[in-house]
Amino acid sequence: MTDLRLKTDSAKKWRTTYLAWGLLLPSVAFLSVFTLYPIGYSAYMSLFKNNMSTFATGPQYIGLKNYVDLFTRDAVFSKAFTNNLIIAAVTVPLSIALAVAMAIFANRVKAGKGAVRVSFFYPTLLPMVAVANIWLFIYTPMYGLLGSFNPNWRFLDNVNTVLQAMIVMLVWKQAGYVMIFYIAGLQNINQELYEAARIDGANAGQMFRRITWPLLRPTTIYVTIITLTNAYKMVDHLYIMTKGGPDNASNMLLFYVYQKAFDQSNTGVASAVTVILIAILLIATSVHFFTQDRRTFYA
């Protein structure tokens, strides 16, 4: 910004600007067509009553009624909304804690380093649908994996346990992925800091609190955003395992969009939920990004 030539030579300045925009153009065009336009169109469609009953007559403009109904009358929506909050609040810290532990272990272990990393990482490689089928077997009462410990553990058939059961699976699925970022983060930390700390007589706990964790902060910020969006994005398993049940105890917003849009052909309500989902994710990421970013020390 202190380059004097740019400030004095306006032609050159403009050329740079054009070049910048030119380079951005492909992604701007791509984003517009595949992201911004659909978002705008969903927002527009959310103002209409558009379901099976309007198939013959065409969509009917109803203003914000879809939104009002969602927040005042739709019990399934509020259930899915709360479930999503719980899943985000639990899976984000849990995945991070597990990932840090795994990363430190995988980084320190001497023998079989590769094997350890692969075994931690492999759940990430599996498609969500395959994961769902594996855990469906694990959770099957009587003759599933857990069923052999206690035949009457019926985690998926019970409204009080189904969400916990899902959370365990989601953490299992994504912790390995998060671990990769922490392994990279750990390897960026200068070993001299630990040596200095050791000379000063710091113990392992102090070193983790004062050196490792603060220096992993950029990774943590990135990973928090990833896991937070994942908490709203990972719904494929519901299709296989519970269809959001029993009694919508495991339903989530994105799956509710699917149910409304496709199972029930209710495009109006599905669009409204989509817009709400986008708003939530946008707010969460920007708050996080703008408040946390300042306090980061980039090593």
Binding site: M52, G245, D247
Partner: protein
């Protein structure tokens, strides 16, 4: 140069010949179809389509496996909205009102004009036509049609001191026999339940609820015109309460039971009595390692069961030759008693035409395996499967209510009363 010219000439000739060779133009149809039972009926459908093409070289039907019934509805509706209309699809019989209200269906009567065609249309079991006709016209041709039957494990009946040839005939006996069939280990943990009737949304919870209303003087959940539902009727509430009471007494596992694992639970002998579609009969027969029996559903004040399963539909918006080809295909599939009989033998679905039961192969089969007749014999008590306008939304409401009741989240009465209000709000648009 000359070589090139002659090559070109040859190519041109070949190109010119191509239309001649194809004078017998092949009409290709994509047919979406669902599978909701075990035992691999998808392979059977593919084989039938190939055989049809061999006998009718001018028409080729490509079967497209589309998942469950709900998935198939989703896919076909998406295809219609994307202007990629299929000429024919095998779909849930209960999608009739929804498809009809969209105005996308052809009726068969307009195409079946000869006396022989009329005989074809009128030759199906009347029970199956309840979900296939509307306003005097035929919109669905029955194919993989079922009733719900009771499967029971005769070995476990003997073990519990029950007569293996006398399955429960009424609700009281169902509960009584069921509790005798429960087995616990030394710690008091139940290792085998007496009864399991699937109650999850991913399956067909609403359909199973019908088994508890139709057995009360044939009371059904909806009006004949598909615009009214009777969720909060005392009979419906009583039916759901009885179903839930089986869990409360420990005869059935607590919570919801999965449609998809109920048959394997039965085959693993983790439950002694199940309700399931007759479409799984052949699957059970092939995989059961024990002596099993089937029976019509236990009665309360009457016998009863909903019908179920899939029909062939014709869709508007395709060239007429495709529709004609589709009619030819559907007729080929459903008009020949031998073929209908073989399909029934291969799957367990009810043969949709009475004359199929007079064929030599069917007589021989049912003599060796009388269970194959259970579902058909029950047809005389069978009523239409739950079917209303805006099926997807209303069915979801009822399934949710059943899950809420079975998991103890709400009482059956509360759950059904709320479901009634929600369903009324939707159906008001169609009255």
């Amino acid at each position: 140069m000359r070589k090139l010219a002659s090559l070109l000439l040859a190519a041109l000739l070949l190109l010119g010949l191509a239309p001649l060779a194809g004078a017998e133009k092949v009409i290709e149809l994509d047919m979406y179809f669902p599978v909701s039972v075990g035992g691999g009926p998808d392979a059977l459908i593919s084989a039938l389509c190939e055989q049809f093409h061999a006998e009718n070289p001018g028409i080729k039907v490509n079967p497209v496996y589309a998942g469950s019934y709900a998935d198939t509805r989703t896919k076909v509706l998406a295809a219609i909205q994307g202007n990629d209309v299929p000429a024919v699809a095998l779909m849930f019989s209960i999608d009739l009102y929804q498809l009809y209200s969209m105005g996308v269906l052809f009726d068969y009567d307009s195409f079946a004009t000869t006396p022989e065609d009329q005989a074809w249309l009128n030759g199906f079991y009347p029970g199956f036509m309840e979900n296939s006709r509307l306003g005097g016209k035929t919109y669905g041709i029955p194919w993989q049609r079922s009733t719900i039957i009771m499967y029971y494990n005769k070995d476990l009946f003997r073990e519990a001191g029950l007569n293996p040839d006398a399955p429960p005939q009424n609700w009281t006996e169902l509960a009584e026999f069921g509790s005798k069939l429960v087995k616990k280990d030394a710690n008091g943990q139940t290792v085998r339940y007496g009864v399991q009737i699937p109650s999850d949304k991913a399956g067909y919870a609403y359909w199973m609820l019908q088994t508890f209303t139709l057995t009360q003087d044939g009371f059904n959940l909806m009006s004949d015109d598909g615009t009214e539902v009777y969720f909060d009727n005392p009979k419906t509430i009583r039916g759901l309460e009885f179903w839930k009471s089986l869990s409360d007494q420990g005869i059935q596992a607590p919570g919801t039971a999965k449609w998809s694992t109920t048959v394997s639970d039965f085959l693993e002998q983790k439950v002694a009595i199940i309700y399931h579609t007759t479409g799984n009969l052949t699957n059970v027969r092939k995989n059961a390692t024990f002596d099993f029996g089937t029976s019509r559903l236990p009665a309360d004040t009457s016998f009863g069961s909903p019908t179920g399963g899939g029909n062939f539909y014709l869709f508007k918006g395709v060239p007429e030759e495709q529709t004609q080809a589709a009619v030819t295909f559907v007729k080929w599939m459903t008009n020949n008693p031998e073929r209908v009989a073989q399909w029934s033998i291969d799957t367990g679905y009810v043969a949709t035409r009475p004359e199929a039961y007079d064929t030599a192969r069917m007589i021989e089969y049912t003599e060796g395996f009388p269970s194959a007749l259970t579902a058909r014999d029950q047809l005389e008590f069978a009523k239409a499967e739950f079917s209303v306008y805006d099926q997807g939304a209303v069915q979801d409401i009822l399934d949710t209510a059943i899950e809420a009741a079975m998991t103890g989240n709400k009482t059956p009465a509360d759950a059904l009363k709320q479901a009634q209000q929600e369903a009324d709000a939707i159906l008001a648009d169609y009255r």
